[in-house]
Symmetry: C2
Subunit: 199 residues, 2 copies
């Protein structure tokens, strides 16, 4: 990189490889790191190494964890008969935040996306089928994202699970709470109508 | 952080301390780091530590450098009689990129900003005065940012340098090349008019 000292250029280069971080942001972050006390920079580097070393995937649900099985799968108070299927570990946080869901999870590791070269074999679908067949699962909630890939993934999984005599549900799609009909797109509005319930 | 394994929560916390990085971006970056090969995470941590350890400030111009004086101040081909005064090391890149400027730099380390608690004493202004008085400087170009703080800083420095019989100039402010008069604000348009030159 033109004019920058080598170690600064290298740091910027590394930061730039992260998603959504361009040249300018990488520069800003690098200067921030340089302005940290030495202890602060060490802590940041340490946090990166530690996270990378300590975190593994739960062998049951494939969530990120430091101990296998993860604290959800190991929790006797959770309802182990209900599996919520999600795409990524971060979706788990969204659902846990509401504090209502008592079941367990299954993290697929993404969605089926031929464009990005992700086939069903790249996701933990076989592992989900194995879970459903081996233990007495009562319900599988498909909570993949309500976009093209997520819907296709949900349909694919529903089709595979159908012969296993397990209840398969899909999360509701509709107008977000606090949202406005005026700004809803046609498909969301259609789903909201389709998903209407008696009150 | 709710539900995240400890080392992941810690990494997200550290990333969130960086400027412009909120919870969501920190999460995305953390997951990116977890998906790196172990070598990639190590390289990133290493780059952070190395940059923090190796980079020092040039004792002449206060730019970031691995060797003191920096390669610009040590370059006999640069015109050491012209000093371009800038706020931050990153501004240096913007000017070096044009490949035309032959002089040297002086990095203030920011601008005068009472709101953010930065007084002239927090900037390398005394050091600039010392440079101007001790060596035969012909021209000082004030290239602080054309915003309120940058203009105030430029005026402040110009006033201090006036008794030293050195030529003090300010970079032109006007309509950016490729820009459109329609979208210029009043002050920029005023500066563009004031700065007009015969063709």
């Amino acid at each position: 990189m033109l004019g920058y000292p080598k170690s600064l250029g290298k740091l910027i280069d590394h930061l730039k490889r992260m998603p959504g971080i361009g040249q300018k942001t990488a520069q800003r972050l690098a200067f921030h790191i340089l302005n940290l006390e030495p202890k602060g920079a060490q802590d940041l580097a340490q946090a990166i190494l530690e996270a990378r070393q300590k975190l593994i995937y739960c062998s049951v649900c494939f969530n990120l964890t430091e101990h296998d099985p993860c604290f959800i799968c190991a929790d006797p108070k959770r309802n182990q008969q209900t599996i919520c299927v999600i795409e990524e570990p971060k979706d788990f946080i969204t659902i846990e935040k509401i504090g209502e869901y008592q079941g367990v999870y299954h993290i697929l590791g993404g969605s089926i996306s031929p464009l990005e070269g992700r086939t069903p074999d790249d996701l933990k679908i076989k592992e989900l089928v194995r879970r459903v067949t081996s233990s007495g699962i009562a319900e599988v909630i498909l909570a993949t994202n309500p976009n093209v890939e997520g819907e296709a993934t949900a349909l694919y999984i529903a089709k595979i699970l159908k012969p296993l005599a397990v209840k398969v549900t899909r999360i509701a799609r509709g107008i977000p709470v606090g949202g406005d009909l005026e700004f809803a797109d046609e498909i969301t509005m259609l789903r909201a109508l389709e998903g209407r319930q008696e009150i």
